[in-house]
């Protein structure tokens, strides 16, 4: 009966954050607690995943905080989608934290690094689990607040400037999100996502409220999610923030925090608003597919344009960067485009299969990008740690002095390029497959999606091959020749590289999990039933 495991990851992260906050005076104890906490987090997530069982039963669990029944109290929901996101985030976070323990200088660790890091995980976990739209806002803020500080962590000129841009854009974003939540609440009378889904699907049964404004209000919300995900034209904060943040934090920002925006898009637009009872669109060029999800039909082109713009801006921007972090940051913009592209296809998909395929492709790509970009940022950090610079003009020939590190970077780059059998290949393949299936089914614009994806993929090859040539091959300068890569840092990088390879070879598991996640995202009724169906006072019931 007790389903405390649903809230366990969040609690573990929270308790760890507080514990590390209180033990700041005791440096070693703090680090130990922090690492133990992240292991505990990993364990809690593993427990949750095993209960949800995305490879088998695909349970949906809901948990009523404070014991108040949904939709009145705050509900947190664990389904295959959340489990998928949590699982890979937990792994990347643990890697980043272990990396940090020997990367961030001890003073910085003592000041605030560990509590902030764990608070960030609290925010991320809360966002993945929450079933309440305002609560989502709160966890966004928790995540953002910690990321603000972590971006400005080194407190130098470029850090402060980057953080300023990041902060201002996100503060405006928060206000916009409030506006959207207020409007949605006023229109539909609820904040609970499941309740919201139920209401927008059938307004007549809930006091016959006006459904039309929901689309515009959800658009406000979409802009906020796009901002978090760094999707063009909201990508502006990305390059400088990623450059400024310490390497493991960049790894987290690119690998995990961005994915929260993606998750929110999937959850809110596919699960909650997907069946909104809007039957036609009056804008020219928008057609509504037969199964009647006009709201998604509106977002199809929107997401497509944003994804395409991201791919182009990110891809082009990355080519001539002369530092690794800058390249990776621009690359992140482009890769997020790759994640959203199949979502755009899913939004306009004519059949359920293609929709599932599109969402699953996005999830797989998100996972791959999380791992690969996380690895690459960590590798960049290790390079910086060993050489003292990560600018290409001062680098070269790293394969000679740091072969393992270089190999790790190579694997990460190949994963993003999409070389099989690394996990990245399947991400790219599924994106192509989603677009291809849509194309075969005659969906307008799917050929353009294929074209954009192809252009983006080629740009990825272009910038990574350039980076490889300039940083890892060539005549090593003195600094590089004397480079001494820390074993502990390189070990993390290599471990992630192995993980990427393993994920590719054993991709069947990933695919099943992603499919389960996509199906959970689209299984509106299952979600509603899990949250509202068995909700009787105390703890909510979970069922398949």
């Amino acid at each position: 009966m007790s389903q405390q495991f649903v809230v366990a990851p969040l609690l573990v992260a929270l308790v760890t954050a507080i514990a590390t906050l209180l033990t700041r005076r005791f440096g070693r104890a703090q680090v130990t607690l922090s690492l133990l906490g992240s292991l505990g987090y990993l364990g809690a997530v593993a427990l949750l995943v095993s209960k949800v069982d995305p490879l088998g039963a695909s349970n949906v669990f809901s948990y009523q905080l404070s014991g108040w029944q949904a939709p009145f109290g705050i509900t947190i929901v664990a389904d295959s989608l959340s489990a998928f996101m949590l699982a890979f985030s937990a792994v990347i976070a643990t890697a980043a934290l272990v990396f940090s323990a020997s990367y961030v200088d001890s003073f910085g660790q003592r000041v605030s690094y560990h509590p902030l890091f764990h608070f960030m995980m609290v925010g991320v976990t809360g966002s993945f689990l929450t079933g309440d739209i305002f609560n989502l806002f709160v966890w966004f803020e928790v995540m953002l607040m910690s990321s603000y500080v972590l971006v400005v962590f080194y407190s130098g000129p470029e850090h402060t400037q980057a953080a300023l841009q990041y902060v201002v854009l996100n503060l405006v974003g928060s206000a916009v999100m409030l506006l959207a939540i207020g409007g949605l609440y006023s229109t539909t009378g609820t904040l609970n996502m499941a309740d919201l889904a139920r209401r927008v699907a059938d307004p007549a049964a809930f006091g016959d409220f006006a459904i039309a404004p929901v689309l515009g209000l959800s658009a406000l919300l979409f802009a906020v999610f796009a901002l978090k995900a760094g999707l063009a034209p909201f990508q502006f904060w990305v390059p400088s923030a990623y450059r400024a943040a310490p390497a493991p934090v960049s790894a987290m920002l690119a690998g995990v925090v961005k994915k929260v925006g993606i998750y929110a898009i999937v959850r809110v637009y596919f699960t909650v608003f997907g069946a909104a009872a809007i039957s036609e669109l009056s804008l020219p060029g928008l057609s509504v597919p037969d199964d009647g999800s006009a709201l998604l039909a509106f977002y199809g082109p929107v997401m497509f344009v944003m994804a395409a713009a991201s791919i182009v801006v990110g891809g082009l921007g990355a080519v001539s960067r002369d530092d690794i972090d800058g390249l990776l940051a621009y690359s992140s913009i482009g890769q997020v485009g790759f994640i959203v592209l199949p979502l755009a296809i899913a939004a306009t998909a004519p059949t359920e299969e293609i929709r599932v395929l599109g969402v699953a492709a996005a999830l797989v790509y998100a996972l791959n990008h999380g791992f690969a970009k996380g690895l690459l940022f960590l590798a960049s950090g290790a390079v910086y740690d060993a050489v003292g610079t990560e600018r290409f003009p001062d680098l070269g020939g790293l394969t000679e002095s740091a072969p393992w590190l270089s190999a790790g970077f190579f694997v990460g780059a190949l994963a993003l390029i999409g070389i099989p059998p690394l996990s990245g290949f399947f991400g790219k393949m599924l994106v192509f497959d989603a677009a291809g299936s849509a194309s075969a089914a005659g969906v307008a614009g799917s050929n353009a999606a294929l074209g954009i994806a192809l252009v983006g993929a080629i740009l990825t090859i272009a910038y990574f091959s350039r980076a490889w040539n300039r940083g890892f091959w060539g005549e090593p300068p003195l600094l590089v020749r004397n480079a001494d890569a820390k074993v502990s840092l390189v070990a993390v990088v290599v471990a992630l590289a192995l993980a990427i390879a393993l994920l590719g070879v054993g991709f069947d598991v990933v695919m099943q999990a992603a499919n389960a996640g996509a199906e959970a995202a689209l299984d509106r009724q299952g979600y509603i039933d899990a949250v509202l169906g068995a909700a009787e006072g105390g703890s909510g019931g979970g069922h398949a």
Partner: protein
């Protein structure tokens, strides 16, 4: 009629906030952000209805007596105000640090330096 006035007021407040966010002076940008988030809070409160009665029930436990304005939005706004406070305070200190690091709070100058 009144909702048009309200909409107008909020529209103007957001517009002014936006205008300030686009200025060169970081302090003004922070003002702009403050105005925008306060306006968002006001909006949220009005969404709960303006004239329902204080959502505080008399002591002792006989609830549900009189109509009250939506307490939920008030709770939400309270949370939002607090969060907004935390972030604004951070933004201010950050402004100060930007000035220390760059010797200017002119965004134009900052941008050209970058």
């Amino acid at each position: 009629m009144t909702q048009f006035v309200l909409a107008g007021v909020l529209g103007v407040l957001f517009a002014l906030g936006t205008f300030l966010v686009l200025r060169r002076d970081i302090v003004r940008v922070v003002w702009g952000v403050t105005i925008i988030s306060q306006s968002a809070n006001v909006y949220l409160v009005t969404m709960g209805g303006l004239s329902g009665g204080v959502p505080i029930l008399s002591h002792g436990g006989h609830g549900g007596g009189h109509a009250v304005s939506d307490p939920l939005v008030q709770a939400l706004v309270l949370t939002a105000i607090v969060i907004g406070f935390g972030t604004t305070a951070f933004a201010l200190v950050l402004t100060y640090r930007v000035y220390q690091e760059h010797g200017t709070i002119d965004l134009l100058e900052l941008g050209e330096k970058a």
